[in-house]
């Protein structure tokens, strides 16, 4: 997009406040010497990474590899991390659990924390995820997939420059997950956020990613651009990518 608002890069609480280094206009996320220790255990160390605007980065890794920790740092929720992390001020998170406030009706959940937005805005955002008619329901009446779609509406109505997704479809059934991938692609095409998504599902990489990072042994062991125009499982290259990612994750692919 030609008329993008310049990003207001602010240091997340992960970094001590000091002079912000100049970052190129098309860089959305920048990590320098990022690391995380829990007591004596070092989960990640000395990670340096830069993510360009508009990328859809998939962060793969086995359990305990630190992928969710890294995402929390990007969200500004982990001030204890080492190094320096720069992220846009306009960022938001879709969690694995939908985290809707059960005592607020669906539309109020969408515009929570946005006092200037009206119900009509919320309904429009809900329309984008196909749930406009559920605006007045209580979150408790929604299915898991519907709740997660409301969480997407709540994220996209904020027009984030950086969208952080922490295994957002991990708790959904396989069919719902496929539908969510399609929806996610449509939303990203319309709003064009820079996205970082944590997952352990290799097929999610094929469905959504423009770049895949694999976290392993405390660092980034693989950084791979993904260019699959059709994004169909039958595309040439899909089998290759799958095998490579599974191999990198320590799953033996035949």
């Amino acid at each position: 997009m030609a008329t993008r608002v310049p990003l207001s890069l602010t240091p997340s609480p992960a970094a001590p406040l000091r002079a912000v280094p100049a970052v190129g206009g098309d860089t959305a996320v920048s990590l320098t010497g990022y690391g995380r220790r829990f007591g004596a255990r070092t989960v990640m160390a000395d990670i340096t990474l830069s993510i360009a605007e508009g990328e859809f980065v998939l962060l793969l890794g086995a359990s305990g590899s630190g992928k969710s920790t890294l995402l929390r740092a990007l969200a500004g929720l982990d001030p204890q991390a080492d190094g320096e992390v720069l992220v846009p001020r306009a960022r938001t998170v879709v969690f694995q659990d939908h985290r809707l406030l059960p005592w607020k009706r669906v539309w109020r959940n969408v515009i929570v924390g946005l006092p200037d937005r009206a119900k009509a805005d919320a309904v429009t955002a809900l329309g984008e995820v196909g749930l406009a008619e559920r605006a007045d329901n209580w979150p408790g009446t929604l299915s898991g997939g519907e709740s997660q779609r409301v969480a997407l509406a709540r994220a996209f109505i904020r027009e984030p420059h950086l969208l952080l997704l922490d295994e957002p479809f991990g708790a959904l059934d396989a069919l719902t997950r496929i539908r969510m991938h399609v929806l996610m692609r449509a939303l990203c095409e319309r709003h064009r956020p820079t996205s970082v998504m944590v997952t352990h599902d290799v097929d999610e990489a094929i469905a959504l990613a423009t770049r895949v990072l694999v976290l392993r042994d405390g660092g980034i062991s693989l950084d791979l651009p993904v260019d699959l125009p059709g994004r169909r499982m039958t595309d040439p290259g899909v089998a290759d990518l799958r095998a490579r990612l599974l191999g990198e994750l320590g799953v033996v692919a035949e």
């Binding site: 998170v93 059960p102 005592w103 929570v112 329901n137 209580w138 009446t141």
Partner: protein
Amino acid sequence: MPINFIGKTAGTASGPGLELVVGRTPTHGRRDDLRAAWRRLWRSNWVRIVGPLLLLAAWEIAVTWFGVSELTLSSPRSVAETAWRLMEDGTLWTALGISLRRVAIGIAIGVPAGAALALLSGLFSTGERLIDPVVQMLRTMPALAVVPLFILWFGIGEEPKVLLVALAVSFPVYINLYAGIRGVDGRLVEAGRVFGLGRFRLIRDVILPGALPSFLVGLRFSLGIAWIVLVASEQINATSGLGYMMLNAQNLLQTDVIFVGLIVYSLLGLISDLLVRLLERWLLSWRHGFRSL
């Protein structure tokens, strides 16, 4: 082979051993009109009425046939008559009005006080360190144990009774609301922060609604305790109110008046409980998933 669904079980020992687990048998529920529904309700529930009726009958029989003294046990009939008399000459209404007023004022002081303390110690760690140990220490003290002290301090007027109710109801509110605030899902609080809720809105939109169910539990306990404490204090030092009416009846050997008092208390307890339950249904409608009003 056609399977014959008569009765609940199809097939006998010699049959295929099939059991109808879904679907209605042709002999049952075919004409499912209102009258039939009523009949079914009556048929499955009439036993519930038997217990209280038996009790009432045993009571009446004990008094009239076995000659249990009216001083020990008034007959249900004389209790009913006395209730009517006390209502007609206004004695009951006066006593009830005075007791209700004491409970209402006590609750109006005690519930906000308990809630305020719970907010301070639930929301602020300094508040917790300052308030919680003191409250936890005081709450192990039976409320009625302070009656002598309150009489010394406040005399035998309205103050000691109202303040005793206030003191007693503040503890359940404090304990439950405090636990409710501390028990609010930390993930929702984190999400609230991510979505831009400031401190005030976080408290108003996330923490307080999350603690509301616990608060209502505390309120329910409070109302129950309020009556217990009031009766006790009215029987120790009072010249009016329901407790006084019963104490007076004891001195005048009016067993029937005591029974009337007991029944009124149980009704008051039921009504207070019902009020909180209605409040819960209204405030927590999101819990059951139906749209309110």
